[in-house]
């Protein structure tokens, strides 16, 4: 009989005890799996979100992050034109984000509006209808929540107004635009009623067009490897704006959500400790109960190494089976925990905290297996140093 088969047989002899141990290891392994997913999932999800349309750089008002404040860049068209002349850059486009109002009967509905340049847009995926065309008055795109709120569909005409003045009770600017298409805005939170239009249309509705304001300029480099050098060059060339690569933004976001990363490390470590304690306790008591049996085996010539191997194999078998059960449990709890955390107000709906990554999961499985197996070292040492004659004599009395 092999060491593994021996170990499995031993564990099966105590079904209640083994079952409880497996349940404990499964819960601990599930927690470890969740924490591994949480520790790197935030960065991965955020990075995937930002690179969704391939734009690797963002230009924002000095000292700000994209859409973090209401600050804007003045003279955006000139900066975009200069960027488009750069041979290393594939595309550049300005984006303005601001509140806007749709008139519906006597009431006004508050919306969030994106003004963008259709030839270089990084914010949405078209789901139905036609995309925006360049040039003013090209129409408007709606998100599903906005369409629901406005009761509008493709082909309908919307009256959009901006620059509300509470003192004279009027809107200083208004425009009628036809709904061209339905889109999914990549950075919208759940249920956000957003509309999109050509940048110049939104600039007219929200501020003086002469100021040519934008909240952000997105930039796509021809080669990913050139991004760090381009960021440095653009910072020198445009000192009055903030130039960030996706890596910079991920690092900032990483800093803001540092709490969750640290929590994942602490809880992941606790899970490993619980696993080690559980296996070590179980095996130590089991070895204590089987001292007579171990002494007999040793007396008939079974080597110390074989006895140690059997105890370690029991620990490994518990870890493998418990860890296997923990994977299913961990994936289920990760979905539940992700549903809680993604309900943070203002978080993009496409964002996820718990992202399974093959490399990290394999590493976690390896660490669990190693620690689970090593937890058997102390009981194995106890088994190996069992005094044969004294134990057999004690068993006989």
């Amino acid at each position: 009989m092999t060491g593994a088969a021996w170990a499995v047989k031993r564990l099966a002899r105590q079904p209640l005890r083994t079952g409880l141990s497996l349940a404990g290891i499964a819960v601990a392994a599930a927690m470890l799996l969740d924490m591994v997913m949480l520790s790197g999932g935030i960065d991965r999800s955020f990075s995937d979100l930002l690179l969704g349309r391939g734009y690797q750089m963002r230009l924002t008002p000095k000292g700000t992050l994209p859409f973090d404040t209401e600050a804007t860049i003045r003279g955006a068209s000139a900066i975009v034109a200069a960027l488009r002349r750069e041979p290393a850059l594939e595309a550049a486009g300005a984006v303005l984000g601001t509140s806007l109002y749709a008139r519906r009967g006597d009431s006004l509905i508050t919306l969030f509006a994106y003004g963008l340049q259709p030839e270089a847009q990084s914010l949405y995926q078209l789901q139905a209808g036609r995309d925006l065309a360049s040039g003013a008055g090209a129409g408007v795109l709606l998100s599903e929540p906005a369409a629901r709120l406005l009761g509008a569909g493709i082909g309908d005409t919307l009256t959009l107004v901006g620059r509300l003045d509470p003192q004279v009770v009027t809107a200083a600017a208004g425009r009628r635009l036809v709904v061209r298409g339905m889109v999914r805005w990549l950075y919208d939170y759940r249920g956000q009623p957003s509309v999109g239009m050509v940048l110049s249309d939104l600039q007219r509705l929200s501020s003086s067009p002469a100021e040519d304001r934008a909240s952000m300029i997105v930039v796509k480099a021809r080669q990913d490897s050139a991004v760090p050098g381009l960021v440095t060059a653009l910072r020198r060339r445009f000192p009055s704006v903030e130039v960030s690569s996706v890596a910079d933004l991920v690092a900032t976001f990483h800093e803001r959500l540092v709490y969750f990363r640290q929590l994942s490390y602490i809880l992941g470590s606790m899970s490993l400790i619980v696993t080690v304690l559980l296996i070590a306790t179980l095996l130590t008591i089991a070895v204590g109960e089987r001292l007579g049996e171990i002494a007999t085996l040793r007396a008939i010539g079974v080597s110390r190494r074989t006895v140690v191997g059997q105890v370690l194999a029991e620990g490994t078998a518990l870890t493998i089976v418990g860890g296997g059960l923990g994977i299913g449990l961990g994936l289920a709890t990760a979905r539940y925990l992700d549903a809680i955390l993604t309900s943070f107000p203002g978080l993009p709906a496409a964002f996820s905290f718990f992202v399974p990554r093959a490399g990290a999961l394999a590493f976690a499985a390896l660490v669990l297996l190693l620690t689970g197996s090593l937890a058997g070292l102390y009981p194995a040492w106890l088994a190996a140093r069992t005094p044969i004659a004294a134990t057999l004599r004690a068993e006989a009395t």
Binding site: R17, S21, V27, M31, G63, P166, V169, V274, S343, P345
Partner: protein, 280 residues
């Protein structure tokens, strides 16, 4: 109660440049600077600053009149924003937007319900929204409600893991007493007495374990607070172990310990003494 205008300038202005010590500080508008910002820019009371809404429009000048410690705010701890405070006319002049504000606070006469007052203000004019302070507090605490729900979910998983661990350990602990139980049965000790003794032992272990666990939790809580207060430069409390939490944890572990001990002891006393002795 507060009423808020649509999005406007309020993000204010955190573009500052140190100019020189102020020779005639009395004529310049005074500003109060947040302690962390003052530390980062090595500012002292009396220093003169150039101020502006953007790096290319640093047209204002002010003098540091005070350095203040902001009230601890959980919503701000992960943000890198720095604040200065100015008199409203000075800020409006700096922004070139006289007589505009983000919001203003309204104190109601005693007996007036904030909800009805807000509704009345909303009906009376166009372009602003009035909110009772309670509604703003509720809205701005959504983030913490989510974190709280997450903590509760993690706590449930931790309790399940701890419960299984405790059940397992108690089961093993009682089973370790097989020989003792056999001897007691041989000398005529009643099953009920053995059961009671094992149950008492389980209770003692659960209570001792809970005491050690509580001490560990208090130490971990103190370490957590010390670390995060230093990490986020704040006086906020991150880990709060209340008597209620301690009571719940001790009661839970005691209950689990007793259930596990009773189950294991019941199995033990039902087994024949010879089997317990290993000769059955």
């Amino acid at each position: 109660m507060r009423s808020a205008l649509p999005p406007s300038f309020l993000a204010l202005v955190a573009v500052l440049a140190l100019v020189r010590p102020a020779p005639a500080a009395a004529q310049l508008p005074g500003i109060a600077v947040e302690r962390r910002l003052a530390g980062e820019l090595s500012l002292r009371v009396g220093d003169t600053l150039r101020l502006g809404a953007a790096p290319d429009s640093m047209r204002g000048v002010g003098v540091v009149a005070a350095i203040y410690e902001p009230r601890p705010d959980p919503a701000q701890i992960t943000k890198q924003d720095r604040y200065v405070r100015m008199h409203l006319p000075d800020l409006a002049r700096l922004l070139g937007a006289p007589d505009r504000v983000d919001r203003f606070g309204v104190a109601l006469r005693p007996g007036i319900a904030p909800d009805s007052a807000a509704a009345r203000l909303d009906r009376s004019a166009f372009g602003y929204q009035a909110y009772p302070s309670a509604a703003i507090a509720s809205e701005s605490s959504q983030t913490f409600l989510v974190v709280s729900r997450f903590h509760r979910a993690i706590a449930v998983i931790t309790i399940v893991a701890s419960a299984v661990f405790l059940l397992c350990v108690m089961l093993l602990k009682v089973e370790e007493r097989r020989m003792d139980a056999a001897v007691m049965r041989f000398v005529g000790v009643r099953r009920r007495t053995i059961f009671g003794a094992l149950l008492l032992e389980a209770a003692v272990i659960a209570v001792l374990g809970s005491a050690v666990g509580t001490a560990l939790a208090l130490a971990a809580g103190a370490a957590t607070n010390a670390y995060y207060r230093r990490f986020f430069h704040t006086a906020l409390t991150f880990s709060l172990i209340t008597p209620g939490i301690v009571g719940f944890s001790v009661a839970l572990s005691l209950a689990l310990g007793l259930v596990a001990g009773a189950a294991a002891a019941w199995r033990l006393v039902r087994t024949r003494p010879m089997v317990l002795w290993g000769r059955g």
